[in-house]
Subunit: 389 residues, 2 copies
Amino acid sequence: MQDNLWISGVNEIISKESLDKRLKSGKKLRIKFGVDPTRPDIHLGHAVVMWKLKALSEMGHTVIFLIGDYTTKIGDPSGRNTTRPILSDAEIKKNAKTYFDQASKILDLKKVEVRYNSEWFSKIKFNDIINIAGKFTVSSILERDDFSKRLKDNVEVGLHELLYPLMQAQDSVELKSDIEVGGTDQRFNILAGRELQKKVGQVPQEVVLFDLLIGTDGKNKMSKSLDNYIGITESSESMFGKVMSIPDSMILPYFELCALYDEKRLKTVRGELDSGKNPRDLKEKLAMEIVKLYHDEKSATEAKDAFVSQFRDKKLPDIMPEVELSGNYELTLLLIELGAATSNSEARRLIEQGAVKIDEAKITDLKAPIAVHKGMVIQVGKRNYWRIK
Amino acid sequence: MQDNLWISGVNEIISKESLDKRLKSGKKLRIKFGVDPTRPDIHLGHAVVMWKLKALSEMGHTVIFLIGDYTTKIGDPSGRNTTRPILSDAEIKKNAKTYFDQASKILDLKKVEVRYNSEWFSKIKFNDIINIAGKFTVSSILERDDFSKRLKDNVEVGLHELLYPLMQAQDSVELKSDIEVGGTDQRFNILAGRELQKKVGQVPQEVVLFDLLIGTDGKNKMSKSLDNYIGITESSESMFGKVMSIPDSMILPYFELCALYDEKRLKTVRGELDSGKNPRDLKEKLAMEIVKLYHDEKSATEAKDAFVSQFRDKKLPDIMPEVELSGNYELTLLLIELGAATSNSEARRLIEQGAVKIDEAKITDLKAPIAVHKGMVIQVGKRNYWRIK
């Protein structure tokens, strides 16, 4: 990987000058990267930063995976933040293993320093916390976008939430971080680390923020909960199909952030788009490139062939899950039975959207009684099939 | 002391109904009273609450002196709050001894439970703090008058300052306090204790707030730094003189809060004031009563006689400090030499105010050269004399 690639897709650097100086100093730098132990599934959005870390690691620097286990063990005492569930030690360990198994598809983990912040937070004294807190003003913390917005909207902010940025800042101090990398959503917390390092007499870490990858819907940031994600351990077929489903506007960003194209190759893609080349062909190329990164060339070719025969040639796939079922069903209940929908309302929505076909005929009647028979094929959306056996 | 006296001068009770129920239950209640270990000097303002504590103690309840040593050992890391100096263990111990020596003039200390909050805060874990903080919202803490005022005026509030009310609240939880008493300036912190107790499943403490005693200037709350205070260990003469110096508007409040007059006797005083009795005579009575509380009847009578002969009869006092001094002095330097002023600017102010007399003649010329001679009497203010020997 070329050195300059590590910085492509960057959104902001604080500060550029000092970062360049440090990179050129020849010193082995300490690169901090925070890992959320509640989210063990790595998707292409997370992978953007991990490829940068790989490049930095190959440049000879030390990449540190900092696992925020202490915070996670506390959970959110107010019970308001359901995205921060309380995890046991065993669950954290299990999630970390899952995470590392996936991360090893990108990085050489033997070269990564793995740390857990319980190392220092389980021992910290109250007076240390008062001392850290004393280095921040209330107004500087409340400036954070989501806090100020919530206070303005009269949505409660728990007092403990103000302490989380301090924890992340203290992590930087403990790790003596030279550079912290993250998505733009981490800007505030990473800057807090820089502040605290300054105040305790450390050279403040450089901050490198990357654009958040937009999901396959072309609208929202990629996330599992929005179901617009591509997991890095997905099968080559699934990965290929999902890339093919992105809107055309995402072709260039995905070539840059997910296929790791450098400026020269991006220029070619841009030229092809501008000259009216069929976006479908460019997406096929993009999908091939991405599948190759996480699988191999052969799998990529097979995934492409399967995709073409299934969708472009409108054939049913050869292989699909077979389900043993018989009798009469309301269509909504049938979808739930198959696992195609998790609730009545989801099933209804799918049917109303015209996403449901039975034996290749679209069914939009919610109450249609379905007589299930052997060999019947139920299709939901573009890529989900079940055959009754 | 009569039982009903303990509540006279009260400003607010939360909640009256539940307080009455607890007091009538026959149970031995735990009465929390916070002691600031940076302020070992007890004046009549502090004494107001301590007399109430004495009454509660004599009613059979347990008075707890909670010494906030942990907070004091931390100090204020932002360096903004100079009223919270960092004290060493030895200083805290020394201050506590000074405090108890004075408090024993009022309370039977053998019956008082003395606790230090380092007992729990030196051992508390970060996750406990997060848990406590999670029980409060940012907006509820920022509602506190001084915080909201400072934020409005763009005066910085350190993030650590938000944690102090939680500490005081946690003190109530640790002590299983039934009632917390304090001045009205402690309202917010004491209510936080009530909140936290509720949230951890304890019966919330009753809150009893007393009016803050106005100082001898009749304007500001009594405090050492404003020099409008009467210390409870001052000599009978000094105490008597200071009480005589209060404005007439303070006569009734001082009879109630400092001389511990009950409603019946207050009514008499009120009647005398209304019927045009010379306030000076009422102040003499008040001063006698207060001196008796901290000294004895004989000292009170002597102090009165000394005062009358010195001021009412305009005689110089028989006894005054004698100082060995000779030569020529600028008046400002002479005042500093005598200890009547601690700085040039203070000396200048005293002279300009006309507070300085030499051999009974007022001197207002700052630069007047004074030839010091044996037997010369220097008077500063109403009650400070020096004789040159």
